[in-house]
Each structure stands twice: as structure tokens, then as C-alpha cells.
């Protein structure tokens, strides 16, 4: 009987937490609506968030995407022409860079860099009563702290994904010049002829969803801290773990939707 009771209480606990998280997300979205119509003093927070999450991550994203674009071209050009399917390199580039790796790698980098920062930042604020200070001043902490982080991370992930594509596709072209020189016109027309609008839309949708997931999870765990600063590292670890899990699941679901 104890076991049943335990399972029951655990399940109830889980459901309650899930409902709470959903409520949190709904609140964020509601406050986002208000933020958009009335920005006031919060615009600066948003700018800084995009600076930290987006601009500062650009070098990492650029390096990774250049490298991946290069590897795809080197591997592809060494294997595909053996089957007389050299043209497929464009499809592979688009599937790998635009549709799959671009959004998910960008999201993982953002989760690792900014998700952790947001969780520990908000956790510290809770511990040092800064959140209470916002509330006391009549500044809604969700709107002033969470919404700019949500928008900032989402926008940054979206834009970083665009940069990932730019650098990834450009990187593959640069490497092509060493392996099998073709003109830029040929490369771009091959690429542009192959890429479909749905590829771009899928990539963009993914990066937006991923950005939202990262910011929801990080702010949720950051604000879930109650009093002690020792809770902060735990919250950071949880935020990364949950982010990565949810990102992979969401990627699978979105890819599935793409092929349905």
C-alpha cells in the first residue's frame, strides 16, 4: 500500500509541478504581450540580453558552423562523386546545416552559455531579495526580468541560427575552393536551386521554439530558488539538463512534423 501511496503522491506532485510550469509559461506569454505594448524601462534589459546571448556567442557559432560546413563538403565530395551524385552535396548541406544542425547546435550553445547564466543570475536575485525589491517597487519581475530574457534568448537563437547558416554555407564554399574549385555562381545557383522555402521555415520555426524552451527552462529554475545561495548550482544543472532534454525532444517532434 505504501508503494501505491508513494507513486500516487509522486504523480500528483509531478502533475502539480507541470501545471505550475505551464502556468509560468502562460504568465510569461501574457506579460510578453504587455511588454510589447509598453516597453518603458525594460528595453535596456532586452538589449543587454541580446548582447550577451547573441552578439557574444557569434564567434563560437561562426567557428562551429564554418567547421561543420567544411567537414560536410570534404566528406561529401570524397564519397558522392563515386556514385555520380555530386549534386546531392547541396541537399546534404541544406538538410544538415539549415534543417538540423543549425537550429539544434545553436540552441545547445545558447543553453550552455546563456541558460546557465540566466538561471544563476535569477537565483542570485531571489537570494538577495532583489526580486522582492522589484515587486515592492511595483515592477513586475516576470515582465521586467523574465520577458526580456525570453525575448532576448529567442531572438538571439533565431538570429544566431541565421548566422550559423550563413557561415556554414559560406564555410563549405571556401573549402570547396581547396578540394574542387567551382565558381561562386555555380555554387550559389546549386544551393539556391535546391533549398526550399520549407527548409528555411522549418529552420526558423525550430530556432524560435528552441530559444523559447531555453529561456522558459532557465528562468523557471532560476526563480524556483527559494532562499539559499547553495540552491543556485543545483538550479543551473537542472536548467541545462532539462533544456537539453526538451530541445532534443522538440527537435524530434518538429522534424517529424516536417515530414508529415
Amino acid at each position: 500500500m505504501r508503494v501505491v501511496e508513494q507513486i500516487g503522491s509522486r504523480a500528483i506532485d509531478r502533475v502539480a509541478r507541470a501545471l505550475y510550469a505551464i502556468g509560468f509559461v502562460v504568465e510569461i506569454l501574457r506579460q510578453t504581450g504587455r511588454f510589447v505594448t509598453n516597453r518603458r524601462a525594460t528595453a535596456k534589459v532586452l538589449t543587454m540580453q541580446i548582447l550577451f546571448t547573441g552578439v557574444d556567442a557569434l564567434n563560437v557559432i561562426a567557428t562551429i558552423s564554418l567547421g561543420i560546413g567544411a567537414v560536410i563538403v570534404i566528406q561529401g565530395l570524397s564519397i558522392l562523386p563515386q556514385f555520380g551524385q555530386g549534386q546531392l552535396i547541396y541537399n546534404i548541406l541544406i538538410v544538415v546545416i539549415t534543417r538540423e544542425l543549425g537550429p539544434i547546435l545553436t540552441a545547445l550553445i545558447v543553453a550552455a552559455r546563456s541558460g546557465t547564466a540566466i538561471a544563476s543570475d535569477l537565483g542570485n536575485m531571489v537570494v538577495s531579495h532583489e526580486i522582492e525589491a522589484y515587486t515592492a517597487t511595483g515592477i513586475n519581475p516576470i515582465r521586467h526580468l523574465v520577458v526580456p530574457r525570453f525575448i532576448g534568448v529567442t531572438v538571439s537563437t533565431f538570429v544566431l541560427n541565421l548566422y550559423f547558416n550563413i557561415f556554414g554555407l559560406a564555410g563549405s564554399f571556401l573549402v570547396t575552393q581547396f578540394v574542387n574549385p567551382i565558381s561562386f555562381a555555380e555554387y550559389s545557383s546549386g544551393l539556391l536551386g535546391t533549398i526550399a522555402l520549407v527548409d528555411i521555415v522549418s529552420s526558423c520555426v525550430k530556432s524560435v521554439v528552441f530559444g523559447a524552451i531555453i529561456s522558459f527552462v532557465a528562468t523557471f529554475h532560476g526563480l524556483a530558488i527559494e532562499r539559499s545561495s547553495t540552491e543556485i548550482p543545483v538550479a543551473v544543472i537542472k536548467s541545462v539538463g532539462h533544456s537539453v532534454t526538451l530541445l532534443i525532444l522538440a527537435n524530434a517532434v518538429l522534424t517529424l512534423v516536417y515530414y508529415l
Binding site: T47, I50, G54, V55, V159, I166, L192, I200
Partner: protein, 364 residues
């Protein structure tokens, strides 16, 4: 304050704007590359079988893709309605009297080839029907030379498309020739009930059949080797010769019936002031002409076979059989001419060198 913080707004602005500019540029380039902003004109064609067409198949003109198949449906009259679009910039090419031809490649994939009307006219109105290559009106326009027919980009597909019906006809021709040969052999052995005139009438129709088949072959040759006129002339002369011969033979007072009639008198041959002899020589001369013509046709066919051989071995194989059959027909006619009753001896058979190479001999 760090420089980075002081220019945070600018940095973020540049960061976002550059990305969006790149995305917009990509979309515009994609759009122009994939023609999002161009209008397409729709036309349709009615065909018998949807086997060789598929949605998304390219419509080509002089090797350029100018449109795509958008839908295929079965009409109430059991025709296959193929809808396809022509891109705006090529719409001027869709002149009156244009026809389409569905070309499927044995390697998979196919295309619809647009053959343009010869006379420059304003484009066909949208949603009008474009006749297919084999349709009656298309045949009419083609024979009237109102259509510019070019070889398609894929020579194999092109040839397959054109040769298929020819092969079908050749099959019939061969059957006829074999039958004819048997009949003639039997007649010469005196075992046939029917007169030679009937056999020759059969031969005439056979040759007409050949002529028609070769008329189709000629279209291929036109695009491949431009020798159709020669062949057609040859066949026309053969036909006229045969007609003349047959007319003579049909004459009840003609030579052959009497000649071959057991009750016929050999004396007549000697007593009629060379009239009969002249008739015979005339007939033989006509046969000579016919044989010469047939021989030339065989040469043409041989050359065509050689051409095809490089393109498609299977077709060559079939044509080779056809050639062999015609060869036999020639032998028969020679035999008739050299009937020991008329002349003496059969000349050595003209040997056609086999141009067929086995599939395994060549490089594929």
C-alpha cells in the same frame, strides 16, 4: 563602462539587421532562382496513357526547361488530361501549331518536349489544348511542315519515343513479307492456287506498309541523318513500279497468267509479233526497278541501323530482323525475275553486312 556596454544598442542593432538582411537577400535570390514572382501559363494535353508522365515532369524547349507538369487526371472520356504550365518568359514560344511530345527515358524520368509551330504567331491563349505528337492534327501539321521538330535533349528517349510505333509496323511488315515469300515460293513450285497477280498485290500492299513505316523512320532520320526524302522517293518509285507491274499482270491477256497457266500455249509466245515478249521484258524491267529501289531502301535501312546501333542496341536488333526479312523479300523478287521460264539462273545474293553488335560487345 566598457565600450561594449556603451555601444550595446548599436551592436545588437547591427547583429540583428545583418542577419535579417542576409535572410532577406537569400529569400530574394531563392525567389528569383525558383521563380516565385513569375506568372505561369497553363495548358493541357490529352494523352492515352498516364504511364510516361508524372507531376513535376519538366516541359522542355530546345533543351531548356520552360515549364512543369502540374496535374494529371483521367477525364470522363477516359483520356488522360495532363495539365502543365509554361513560364512567363517562354510564353512567346508557344505558337499556334505547336505540339508536344512525351519522351520517356528507359533510365527513368522523362520530359515533355514542345515542338514549336513554324510560323511566328502570337502565343496560344492560356488553357488551350496543345496536341500531342501522335495525334491526327499533329501528324497533319508535321507532314505539312508547319512544326519545327527537333531532336530532344535526350537522344535515347527521343528515339525510343519515335521508334516504338515504327517497330510495331515493321513487325507487321515482316509477317507480310514472310507470308508473301511463302506464297511466291509455292506459286513458283506450281502449288499455289492463286495467281501471281494476287501475290504481287499483296507485295504491293506490303511495300506500302513498309513505306508508311519508313515514313515514320524518316522522321527519326530527319532529325538524326536527314535522309528521309531519299528513302521516301525510293519507296515511292518502288510502289509505282509495283503498281505498273501489277496492272500488267492483272491484264487477263497478260503474260504471267498464261505463262503459268498449264493450259496456256507456248505457241502464242512465238506467234504474237513479240508483243508478249515485250510485255515480259517490260515486266522484268519494272521488276528490276523495283528491286533496285528495294535494294536502296535496304541500304538506307542499313545505314539507319548503323546509326541506331550506336544509340540503342535493342532497336538495332529488331531493325536487323526487319532488314533480314526485307532481304528475303528481295531474294524472292529476284527469283521471280530470274524465273527460269523467263531468264536463266539466279544471280548471287547481294549480301548485307550485319551491322548489329551484341550488347555485350560494345561499351555501354
Amino acid at each position: 563602462m566598457k565600450l561594449r556596454y556603451r555601444f550595446a544598442n548599436q551592436a545588437v542593432g547591427v547583429f540583428i539587421l545583418l542577419a535579417i538582411a542576409a535572410a532577406v537577400a537569400l529569400l530574394v535570390l531563392m525567389g528569383s532562382n525558383q521563380r516565385w514572382f513569375r506568372r505561369n501559363y497553363e495548358y493541357y494535353a490529352l494523352i492515352d496513357d498516364a504511364r510516361d508522365v508524372s507531376v513535376g515532369m519538366a516541359v522542355t524547349f530546345r533543351g531548356f526547361t520552360i515549364g512543369r507538369v502540374t496535374s494529371i487526371s483521367l477525364t470522363a472520356a477516359n483520356n488522360v488530361d495532363v495539365r502543365f504550365t509554361i513560364q512567363e518568359e517562354y510564353i512567346e514560344q508557344v505558337r499556334q501549331r505547336s505540339i508536344i511530345q512525351i519522351v520517356s527515358s528507359p533510365l527513368g524520368g522523362g520530359q515533355i518536349v514542345l515542338h514549336q509551330g513554324r510560323a511566328p504567331t502570337p502565343p496560344l491563349p492560356e488553357a488551350s489544348r496543345i496536341p500531342t505528337y501522335d495525334s491526327k492534327e499533329a501528324l497533319q501539321w508535321r507532314t505539312a511542315n508547319e512544326v519545327i521538330v527537333l531532336r530532344a535533349a535526350d537522344p535515347i528517349a527521343q528515339i525510343v519515343a519515335q521508334v516504338e510505333p515504327i517497330l510495331l509496323n515493321l513487325d507487321i511488315v515482316m509477317a507480310n513479307v514472310v507470308e508473301l515469300t511463302d506464297e511466291i515460293n509455292l506459286a513458283l513450285l506450281g502449288q499455289s492456287a492463286g495467281p501471281v497477280a494476287g501475290i504481287l498485290t499483296g507485295l504491293e500492299s506490303t511495300v506500302a506498309e513498309v513505306e508508311r513505316a519508313v515514313a515514320r523512320v524518316s522522321v527519326v532520320i530527319d532529325s538524326a541523318a536527314a535522309q528521309a526524302d531519299l528513302v521516301l522517293e525510293d519507296l515511292n518509285s518502288i510502289t509505282s513500279n509495283l503498281e505498273a507491274t501489277t496492272a500488267q499482270l492483272r491484264d487477263p491477256t497478260g503474260l504471267v497468267p498464261r505463262l503459268l497457266d498449264p493450259s496456256g500455249s507456248i505457241a502464242t509466245l512465238l506467234d504474237d509479233d513479240n508483243v508478249l515478249f515485250d510485255q515480259i521484258t517490260g515486266t522484268v524491267a519494272a521488276l528490276d526497278l523495283t528491286i533496285a529501289g528495294l535494294s536502296q531502301t535496304l541500304d538506307e535501312l542499313s545505314r539507319f541501323t548503323a546509326y541506331l546501333n550506336t544509340a540503342q542496341p535493342q532497336i538495332a536488333t529488331l531493325l536487323e530482323e526487319g532488314r533480314a526479312a526485307l532481304n528475303t523479300g528481295q531474294d524472292v523478287l529476284l527469283g521471280l525475275r530470274n524465273n527460269p521460264l523467263l531468264r536463266g539462273g539466279i544471280p548471287p545474293v547481294r549480301e548485307q553486312p550485319s551491322t548489329f553488335q551484341g550488347i555485350r560487345d560494345g561499351e555501354f
